[in-house]
Symmetry: C2
Subunit: 212 residues, 2 copies
Amino acid sequence: MTGMQPSHDEHLQAAMNAHHIPRRLQQRILELSVFHTYAAPGIIIGAFMVDYALELLGTDPGQKLYGVCETPKCLPDALQVIARCTIGNNRLRIVPIGKFAITVNASSEKETAEAVRVFVDLTKIKQYPVLDLWYSNSPDYDKHTMGDRLRDEIFSAGRNILSFEKVRVEVRPKKKWKSVTCPGCGETVPDYLVVDGRCGACGSMKYYQSIS
Amino acid sequence: MTGMQPSHDEHLQAAMNAHHIPRRLQQRILELSVFHTYAAPGIIIGAFMVDYALELLGTDPGQKLYGVCETPKCLPDALQVIARCTIGNNRLRIVPIGKFAITVNASSEKETAEAVRVFVDLTKIKQYPVLDLWYSNSPDYDKHTMGDRLRDEIFSAGRNILSFEKVRVEVRPKKKWKSVTCPGCGETVPDYLVVDGRCGACGSMKYYQSIS
């Protein structure tokens, strides 16, 4: 039901075949590399993580899921493409703790939901020397000479570098809002985004300068 | 070069055909509705916005682009799927001002870049009564009885509800970081995410409770 067209990354494809990655997961990794624009190590690890989380949750295809990602780097794209928790559909939350970890839950009518948290386990990653160097951002990691070995170790490891725990997360209700007019620019914004009587762009959030 | 498989939303397809939406843009809207899991009004407007921004910038297919989105609702997914500015590849920034507006620029070696800002123009939207009700979150908008008309107005309007301006934005350099060990949990996180000597999860950012 998901399905982006595969990228034509024959090198990636060959590596996945060599490591006997299941066909279904290969397809997800190819879709993900198209979306992300390249097959970054982080999205490949992310694909294994999301795939594992969905299996642990026992989800059905097309089921509405909510995800939290503990880093903004690479990993959110795996949740977006594989679990369809996207920034724009409001089912993805990024909490910048800085860990390579995700939490996924099904929708719930209650105030909390049972979820599964899947994370890169620092004790397990030690078995994979290049992956360990890359993950810890060591100056000894050289992407020009070690990139292929890194990818090999990631595919060789698969879920072997992951652990999980069952957790409980809060369900966030959809925010009600009214449209209000900013006295600064005369444009409308949701009331809950008004700061000191003005919209963010008339306050401290203006990130651009008009030219021409 | 991008390409997710189209969804099988025949209703959406028929509406696009009826309004003579160009084939290339139809394809993008179908991809987007698969990614977002449904053809929300906001992603259809977003598709017109990103398509317009790319044309104004004169970008080549596959060119590396950076985007800012002034709302987290729906619109970021159009930047992600069409312009390949994703949360995970670090080319998408969300500034929650609350306006339906995006800014897109090509990569630049300088400290700033010229960009184009495309926005829903509140003076132009007034010509489309249902769209105007929906956009302003009016209690008079009823999605059960007005959903089809809203979609028709969006396709009928296309770029007619949009305006643009040329702007200058700051180029954000890639952050250098070192891996440090949190004394609370013993796990590693990037140094710049440490708060009061601990990682976020050992501080105020823990968003889950362990169970089992």
